[in-house]
Symmetry: D2
Subunit: 146 residues, 4 copies
């Protein structure tokens, strides 16, 4: 069922340590809820401090969470001493980010020793209804040991 | 010198009012420093609460600021009762977001009654040196009155 | 099983007529092999006239085919008198476009009366092996009657 | 005036040799009209064989030309034995590709030993009028000797 090969069996604790150093994730109130080979889920709840002018979550905050999920999804497949950086991403916003809870899902589409391509989605949970609010296509690069 | 036509002479106060409603901008400590037809500048200073695991500003926060600058750049050319939403954007990260101060610049590349294409940059100021840390290409849509 | 609503029951013949007017598709030797609500497949075979300097299919040709598949995927859900135009797309190239046959698949991710978001892939068939060579995330706009 | 450093003084002949191997460029009737450090121009004329259903040049053909211009722009700054590949690009279409002649311009925004970020434009010449029809933001990678 799991189509990806890991090279560091301690990938989850490595990623959790890195996530805990991200002060931006604390500011957003984001939690790392799932870490598996090639896929990472990050959740956060609505806070007024994250809104744009219409009262929805700012698209950039949505992007921050799914970028982080995609970066760590790539990271799950990397050796212990490497670091993953975002080269670039594209995000399409499909619905206003309206809801009480949000989940960013990052997935590896194409792993690579150097370049990893990921896709991601952000799902809004609004009074029991789920809706995809944004979708990302991202390019990550591994730096350090390969 | 100014190549764009405005349709709302009060565009600046309209945009400043909207910016002041963005709680995410307060969380980032962002200030609207320049608003002119087709171009908007937003600045913010380094805060630890905005960092990723290496201590630089999170790429998503960089994106949030330049997305806002691009959206308001499109907004300068719109009628008074319209609202601008981001359909999508792509961002390339060119250097780590290292510095004490950052400026997001949004510019209209191609105005339109419905769709506006914008480009943006984020410049880091690091001990007197300037560096472009990210560049954006974005598509905005005008909703409401046109 | 079919999650999309069509508004023009004659969508397939409308799209086949439009495809037949695309001289670029003839130059590429592309065939419209599947047209269903929200999804379109286009195939073509290797021709030396489509190659880049290393002898693989040029990435821009790959893009041309999957752009067309995405545009017509959006088109399947549109009213009879509308026209779909590409606002923008992003393409990631995941493997060299090496093979004897190629299939571009376009799918609607988020339909809309005005804006439709699509994703697409190009699959290379190389001596019986399949490989995704490129993936697209695209924004389409409906013009004319809505 | 020239802000980029070259490492191969024979970059122009190297690029012209590579361009001449691109059969896709012949199919499009494209000519390499300018090669300078960090910037490459490619021109082609209207041909019916390159059109979409409305009789304009297909957006994918426009993309093919500006992708090639961006790739060679990156190539001008690379060592003699390296090869440049496109990782990904985003293109915004700003006007229909209507005209009798077209020029794709590729420029290096941020050079790098490994990753180079480029931007590009395609300009249509239509009865003496110039119009930007598309703009690209692209990520290139250098493979082989660095």
């Amino acid at each position: 069922m799991n189509k990806f090969q890991i090279s560091d069996p301690n990938y989850e604790s490595r990623i959790r340590n890195s996530f805990d150093k991200q002060e931006a994730m604390k500011t957003i109130g984001a939690k790392l809820v799932k870490v598996m080979p090639g896929e990472v889920h990050i959740e956060f709840s609505f806070m007024e401090s994250l809104t744009q002018q219409l009262g929805y979550i700012h698209g950039g905050i949505i992007t921050t969470v799914v970028d982080t999920a995609c970066g760590y999804a790539a990271c799950t497949l990397m050796p212990a001493e490497s670091e993953v950086l975002t080269i670039e991403y594209k995000v399409n916003f499909m619905s206003p980010a309206k809801g009480n809870r949000f989940k960013g899902v990052g997935r590896v589409l194409k792993p690579g020793r150097n370049i990893t391509v990921c896709s991601g989605d952000v799902i809004a949970f609004d009074n029991g209804k789920e809706k995809i609010v944004a979708t990302m296509l991202a390019t990550m690069i591994s730096v350090g040991k390969k």
